[in-house]
Each structure stands twice: as C-alpha cells, then as structure tokens.
Amino acid sequence: MAMMPGPLPRYVGIAVLCAFYGVVWSLALNPRVDRLYRSYYIEKSLPQWPADRQLTYRPGTLIDFSKVNPYLSRRGWSEPETSGTWMIEQKAELFVVPDSVSEGDMELWIQASAFVPVLHRRTTVEISLNERTLGRRVFRQHDRRQDFRMAVPAEALDASPTLLGRKVIRIGFEVLDPGPPARSRFSVGRKMLGLHLYSLCLADTTHRCERADE
C-alpha cells in the first residue's frame, strides 16, 4: 500500500485556496472601473452603451417624454404616456451624448409636474448633472405643469465621462420626500410616483430650445 501523505498538507492547501478566493472575491466587490462602465454594466442604469451614436443629442433640441426615447435610465421610469413619463422610483436618470458642447455655461429647460401625496402637501425634486446638484424644485398640491430653467455651470459639464472622445452627460432626478400613492390610498400597489416629465432641453444660454421636428 502506497504511503499516503497526512492530512496537514491538504488542510494547508485548503486554507491557501480559501485565502486566495477571499482575495479574489474582495477584488470582485471593489471594481476599478470608470463612471461610464459602472453605470452601464454594474448599476445597469445607462440604457445602452453609448456607441454608434445611439444616445446622441443635439443641444437645444427638446426631448419629448411622451415618445419612446433612448435617454432614460433602465430603472426609475414608467412607460411613456400621452403627456410624458413618470418617475416610478425615488431616483431616475437621463443619459445624453451631446454632439457638441459649448465651452461656457448652459441651461437645462424642464417642463414637469409631480405627484403630491395628500399628507405630504409638497414634493421636492433635486436635479443634478454629472452628480453635481443644479437645484431643487418644489411642487405643491394642485400645481399645474411648471416650466423652469436651471443653470448648468461649465465645471459640471467638464465632469462628464468620455467614451471614444465624446462626453456622456448624466442628468439625475431624486425625490427627496417620496410618498407612494398607496399612502394616500390612491393605489394599493407599492409603486412610487414622483416627477412627471413632459419635456427637457439642454441648451446654450444664448439659444432657445426647439422641438426636433421644428
């Protein structure tokens, strides 16, 4: 009968292998990737990989949210309705790849309303661009659609990650005081309703926004 090695080498081997797996797993939990990669592959918020001009946007053009468009993040939005698209989670994003970006400041034009729960009396939405807060907008009960502008400083635009030399702009919306319709007995589901976005436009401060078909 061949001499069998004792259990110690195997126990040592098992310990070494487990330590190696621990190291690999910790690396897996902390990827070293850029913002764009994280958005598309890990967080799965970027709707499409911004190649082949799929997310291309001409600054100054109005994005109509009653139509299907590619800019909405994978999560956080309802299907388009006749008037626009609802936020259905506390956070939702837009991704646009402008075909040109001005050197200076720009403006964000937004047409929106919001769901305001009866008990809340108001809904506050924080709007950011490339994770830099542009401002907050408060919607009260019985408010109709609001048209407003927000200044976009050049530094926020410069913070855009680039893909093949093109900037990817990330516009974020966050409801700060979310109130699901179920709480006001409008619905029995857990669905969240926040901002109702009609249209949006990113433009130079010197230009007006136009519809794409104008």
Binding site: M1, P7, I14, V24, Y41, I42, D52
Partner: protein
C-alpha cells in the same frame, strides 16, 4: 484500524472486489455477524464483506500482507481472480471510434449538402465556425479586449471563459495550425474522449451491460445538439470535463476530480455546479457520519471541493488585472439583454410565444426539467442536480440558446439510455428521432439560422 475486502454485487453477480480501510466504528456494527457478512451501503448497493484475519485488529507492520491475503480470500470465495475484479469495464475503443466517426461524417454531410440544397450561396467546408466561434477565434488571435468593441454595442469577449481558447491557442502555437482547424480538433478530440468516459461511467454507475452503455453513447453521438460538439464551441470540452469530474468522484479519486472540476470552472460559468455535484456523489456513497470521520482524518473530498473554483477564481483575477472588474464576464451579459429574472416566468412566456424558435427552446427546457424529475425518482441525485441547475441558471436570464445548454448535459443521455435501454422499438425510435433532429440542426447551422446559435 481494520481491513475488509468488499465484494460489489449487481443482480446477484459479483462484479468488483476491492479492499478498504474500514473505520473501526463502522465495522464494529457489523462485527457481530462474524468474519463474513453482508451489509447495505448508503448507496443501496449490497456489500458482502470478509474481515481480514478473522477480525484481528492489525498492527501497521503487517498491513500489506494481510490486506493482500484478505483480497485473495474474498475474491476466491466469489470465484473471481483478484486481478480481473479490480479492473474497470474495458472501453470498446473500436466501437466508440466507429460511432464517433460515422456520426461526425453523417451530421457534417447533412449540414453541408442540406446547406447547399436549401441555401442560396455556397457552403464552405468549414461552415462549423459560426456565432460564438467567432468570439473564441477573436480571443485566440488577440486575447481579451480592454474595452467593449463588439456587436451589439457594449458586448465584449469577457463573457467567454478562457480554457477552450487557451487550448486552441496552444495547439495553434505548437502545430502551427489555422485557429479554426485547431478549434475543430480540440472540440472533436474532447468529444471523442468524452464518449469513452461516458461509456465507462455508464457501465460503472448505471448498468454493466455493454449493449446498453453503447446505446447510450450512440444517443450522445447523435444528440440533436451534436453540432455544438462538432463546432469550435466549448460544449464538447465542457462535456468531457463534467464526465471526468463525475467519473473520478464516483471512483473516489477526489484529487483528480478536483483538478477536472477546476478545469471545468475555467470552461464555463455553470462549471461551478461541479462543487455541489461532487458533494452529492460523496453523500450518496457514504453515510454522513462516516464521511465526516474520514474527512477529519484526511480531507480528500474537502480538498477537491476547495480546488474546484480555482479555474473561475483565476479567470476573475485575470479580468480584474486586465480591465478592473473581476465580474466582467457576468456584467457584460447586459449587452445581450440578459438580466436575472424568474426562470419559470421566462419559461411560461416561451411556451406561450407564437414564435416557433422560442417555443422550441421552451419545449427542450421542459423536457430537461422532466429528465431532472426522472433522475430524482431514480435516485441519481448528483446528475439530476446537474441537469436541473444547469437548466435553471441560464433560464433565469434568457430562453435563447437553451437547447445548446441542455444538450451538453450528459445525464440527459443516461436517463434516455435507461428509459429506452430495454426496449428495441424504443431504442430505434429514439435514435431515429435524434438523428433526424441532429441533421435538421446541422442544416440550420449551415444556413446560419439564428435560432441554433
């Protein structure tokens, strides 16, 4: 420590005879029976045992002689010679080779001629390199990408595991072959070896009947998805390594089983299923208490289980060093629209789909799930687990390509072999349907139909 010679009986015939180091605790339970007796193992196989030197607890000095005499006595009592009883069933190389070559020729010809007859253009003789083969050839030629450059946008070759392209690349470098030819060689050689292991495994664990084992091997050869075993895909390597893992584990050769499973996890993601499969095999062969006792003395199974994820961990480390994300192989699936969901919802949607391809995928999946249940009923737990989990994991993200995943799971052919093995009409019918389906698949492949990729 006691020694015992164990006779393995199947349908009243002594088929194998081997010696064991028997833990004292286990044997003492049977010792009342005297120096000879019978017991039923955890695997429900009847063992008869002969206690060496009539139950004398032996010292280390006389182990070898006593053990040999023990085997001799035990084997003589069953009119078997010690030498022949140790050998596993011989593999009929010639028969396997004939089945292998004839099936490859039949399916290739069906694809080539059918493609020319039904297609609009000429079919190249090397029409087998399509779909994922192009990704593998890209890895062979240029390695893994640093950024996503594939179609659809965002896709990259990180999704493809490294062992197969590594073997192809090695063969290309050594023999200076064209990568596609080298890929075909690796795939077909792996499949030929897999057939031999499949035959041996079938005789070892299912039935010692040569005809039945050869029939099951023929079913595997003419599987509807056999085109995947011919093409430069990972399916045949995956099949070989799965079979090796199961066969070695069933033979208690845990170190080799661990190495085979480490290679398996470097071949495909579902290779990790080898880990619970090995554990199930060990639990089926031993009582839990015995297993814990023997593992504490010498952790052979534990070491094999620890070895198994090495292939996957190595690939993850490589991906981290290459492009910063160790889970890139999983994350990149989003580019193909694969996201986790409820597999049964996806299956139900497929069954309701009016598109023929989706219905076919769903039907094959249902058949595989039925085979899983059949395997459980037959108490083939490790194999049932392999089919069930091997189907549900890919199904949880997509129905597309399910036939490819299903047809590369070897227990399917064991269950089919057992189901039709004793019925001549059933055998002929199953082979006939399988050959027809394999030819249709080959023609669809030659015509570059998307549903077969």
């Amino acid at each position: 420590m006691l020694f015992a010679a164990i006779l393995y009986r199947h349908r009243g015939q002594v088929t194998r005879c081997f010696a064991l180091n028997v833990p004292g605790g286990w044997f003492s339970a049977n010792r009342r029976n005297g120096c000879c007796g019978r017991t039923r193992g955890a695997d429900d196989v009847e063992y008869s045992f002969t206690l060496a030197a009539s139950g004398i607890v032996m010292q280390s000095g006389n182990r070898i002689d006593t053990l040999l005499s023990c085997i001799k006595v035990a084997c003589q009592s069953s009119r078997l010679t010690g030498d022949s009883s140790h050998r596993p069933a011989p593999v009929p190389w010639v028969s396997i080779l004939v089945i292998f070559l004839s099936s490859r020729l039949t399916i290739w010809s069906a694809g080539y001629l059918g493609g020319r007859a039904f297609g609009t253009g000429l079919i190249e003789p090397l029409y087998l390199c399509r779909h994922d083969c192009l990704w593998y050839m890209g890895i062979v030629a240029n390695g893994y990408q640093l950024a996503p450059e594939g179609v659809p946008p965002g896709s990259a070759n990180w999704a493809f595991f490294p062992l197969y392209p590594l073997l192809v690349r090695a063969l290309t470098a050594i023999v200076l072959l064209d990568p596609v030819i080298a890929g075909l060689l690796v795939s077909n050689l792996s499949f030929a070896l897999a057939l031999c292991v499949f035959y041996a495994y079938y005789r070892k664990t299912v039935s010692d009947d040569h005809r039945s084992a050869l029939y099951a091997s023929t079913l595997l050869c003419y599987s509807p998805g056999t085109i995947y075993f011919m093409a430069p895909y990972t399916e045949s390597l995956f099949l070989l390594l799965t079979l090796l893992t199961f066969h070695l584990a069933a033979s208690n050769r845990w170190m080799l089983a661990g190495i085979a499973s480490a290679c398996l996890t470097a071949t495909r993601m579902v290779g990790v299923l080898a880990i619970p499969s090995m554990l199930l095999i060990a639990l089926q062969k031993n009582r839990v208490g015995d297993l814990i006792h023997s593992e504490l003395r010498c952790p052979r199974l534990l070491f094999a289980l620890a070895l198994a994820p090495l292939g996957l961990a190595g690939f993850m480390l490589f991906l981290y060093l290459q492009m910063g994300d160790a889970l890139a192989f999983q994350h990149v699936q989003v580019a193909w629209g694969r996201e986790f969901g409820n597999p049964f919802t996806i299956l139900w949607q497929g069954l309701q789909n009016r598109d023929h391809a989706h219905f076919w995928y769903a039907l094959v999946t249902v058949l595989a799930l039925l085979a899983t249940i059949s395997g459980v009923v037959r108490r083939r737990y490790a194999e049932s687990f392999l089919i069930g989990a091997g189907v549900l994991i890919p199904l949880s993200s997509f129905l597309f390509s399910m036939p490819r995943y299903v047809f590369s799971l070897f227990p399917l052919y064991i269950i089919l072999g057992v189901s039709f093995g004793h019925n001549e009409a059933g055998r002929a019918g199953a082979i006939g349907i399988s050959v027809a389906a394999a030819c249709i698949y080959a023609i669809a492949w030659a015509l570059d139909q998307g549903f077969v990729c």
